[in-house]
Amino acid sequence: MSISNPTQSARTQKRLRNPLHSKRMRGIMGAIIVHLVLLTGLVFILMPLAWSISTSLKEPGAVFTYPPEWIPRPVVWRNYIDAWTVLPFFRYLWNTTMITTFSIVGRLLACSLAAFAFSRLRWPGRDVLFFMMLSTMMLPSQVTLIPTFILFRKLGWVNTFLPLIIPKFFAEPFFTFLMRQFFMTIPIQMDEAARIDGCTNFSIFSKIIMPLSKPVFIAVAIFVFNANWNDFFAPLIYLHDSDKFTLALGLRAFQGQFGTEWNLMMAASNLVLLPVVLLFFFAQKYFMQGVVITGLKG
């Protein structure tokens, strides 16, 4: 043991002398490199947002100066008021909020009920149906798109909010799966104890499962909010009158009318993104939680 390899010990000594080679130093250097890489990436990924904020505060003429200035001179806050008033923005906001709110309520209700059936109740056919539900997750929505559109047309619902709201009151496979995964983590003994006390299945659902499942309800609500707030395709095919437009449709129309006024357009699109950004910052925890639950825990 004491007879060590001479070359190796020489190397070790050299390493000890050179501070760069000590383990601690290497760790610090590594951290600095990681920080540099991450910061550079972050600058690039956040640059588009900074750019759109900068553009939205410029005078029309300053938009096209090259090379562009990052700090607008003067700062034109008015753009936000103009973007808001040049379009019936409030109308769009109201329409979008209505559709989104009903969608959230519908999805939470329908998916949690179905998830309860698939996780806490034993009934014949459950596993077969659950498998069927999972397999429909793979089906692209295009296949059902045209008959669904024709159905809504036959019902006279085109150009109303109903096609955007009513289907949300039926359970959607992905969210149902998400909620089921969460419900499975609650001990089943709680249900059994409640049953012995004479609780009905509905009161088990509403008094035990629902209160314990707040995180997954919030996670689903956020996902539904995002999907509907940003949705473009469904409003595009179902809503035709401009007073029924959602924010997404309004923005698109805005592009047609004010294609060259980039400062107003960026102000408008920032106004649409704002609620999503705010929600993201306040509800980050639940965004992550949704991912962890779907993170294929088993």
Binding site: G41, I45, L121, R122, P147, F169
Partner: protein, 307 residues
């Protein structure tokens, strides 16, 4: 006497549970019937008809399919869509994974980094599309400005046939944070003993990445690959808002072509056939990914618990 009453009560409870199971599952059962099964059957029937929504559907048998085979834009749009998927899905997976591995180390400000990278992925839709149209503007846009810092003169992007599709692929990378979060969740599930064991065996950073991290993450990568393929083959908004399929159909995604046939030309029968073609195309690609997965996806349970 007492026990008989108890069994009676038990079976009553079980019966109640069976009934309730169906009742609670009703929101999905009805939804499945009304929004999935019914429309699927209807779509299959429409596929054999000529239907403009004004005059009643007319049975034309294989007519739509024959026309579809002759339509050069079908093959073209499938090609465009596939190219987009082939470029954007692997890029997103690689970058997302690298990012997640960097963010899985113990450094300061982790939360800020995660938030910053994740934020753009929640901003999709028209507002983001408009922003990127402005970014890719050849003369005043941010993208060519950044390139000019490195001494590169950028192309006309969306106005250039060759660069419009790559531009949309670049835009898709803005959402890399969505995948990153999922990889992060996966990385945190890898037992540290595996890394310790690898270190004892003298593995360096690269060896640990390729012999521990990637194999352990392969189910998550697989999931992301399948979802990415399915999602990117259905891309629509970017092509509709940013480029309107142009220039010269360079970004005519399949869904855009389908949308135009259905809701601009009102050819519902033809669009139904198109939808089925897309469905089978997605199915084939997904099956291909699934088949290949046996070779590279590693499931812990399979080896440990036997088959």
């Amino acid at each position: 006497m007492n026990s008989r009453r108890a069994t009676g009560r038990r079976s009553r409870l079980m019966f109640r549970e069976h009934i309730d199971g169906w009742i609670f599952a009703l929101p999905w059962l009805l939804g499945f019937a009304i929004w999935t099964l019914g429309p699927m059957i209807a779509s299959l029937i429409f596929a054999f008809t000529d239907y403009d929504m004004v005059t009643p559907p007319r049975w034309i048998g294989m007519g739509n399919l024959r026309e579809l085979i002759r339509d050069p834009l079908i093959v073209h749009s499938l090609k465009v869509t596939t190219l987009y998927a082939v470029a954007s899905v692997p890029l997103n997976i690689c970058l997302g994974l690298i990012l997640a591995m960097l963010l899985n180390s113990k450094i300061r400000g982790l939360r800020w980094y995660r938030t910053g990278y994740y934020l753009p992925s929640v901003l999709s839709g028209v507002a983001a599309a408009l922003l990127w149209r402005w970014i890719f503007s050849p003369d005043f846009g941010l993208f060519n400005l950044v390139l000019s810092w490195f001494g590169i003169k950028g192309p006309a992007w969306l106005a250039d046939e060759r660069w419009a599709l790559p531009a949309l692929v670049i835009m898709s990378l803005w959402g890399v944070g969505g995948g990153m979060i999922i990889y992060l969740a996966g990385l945190q599930g890898i037992p540290t003993e595996l890394y310790e064991a690898a270190e004892v065996d003298g593995a360096g950073l690269l060896a640990k990445t390729f012999h521990v991290t990637i194999p352990m993450m392969s189910p998550v990568i697989f999931y992301q690959l399948v979802m990415g393929v399915i999602g990117s083959l259905q891309v629509f908004t970017q092509g509709y808002i940013i480029t309107a399929g142009g220039p010269h159909n360079a970004t005519l995604f399949y869904m855009l072509h389908l949308y135009r046939n259905a809701f601009e030309y009102f050819r519902m029968g033809y669009a139904s056939v198109m939808a089925w073609v897309l469905f089978f195309y997605i199915l084939i690609l997904t099956l291909f990914v699934f088949k290949s997965s046996a070779a590279w996806v590693y499931y812990e349970g399979q080896l440990r618990g036997g088959r």
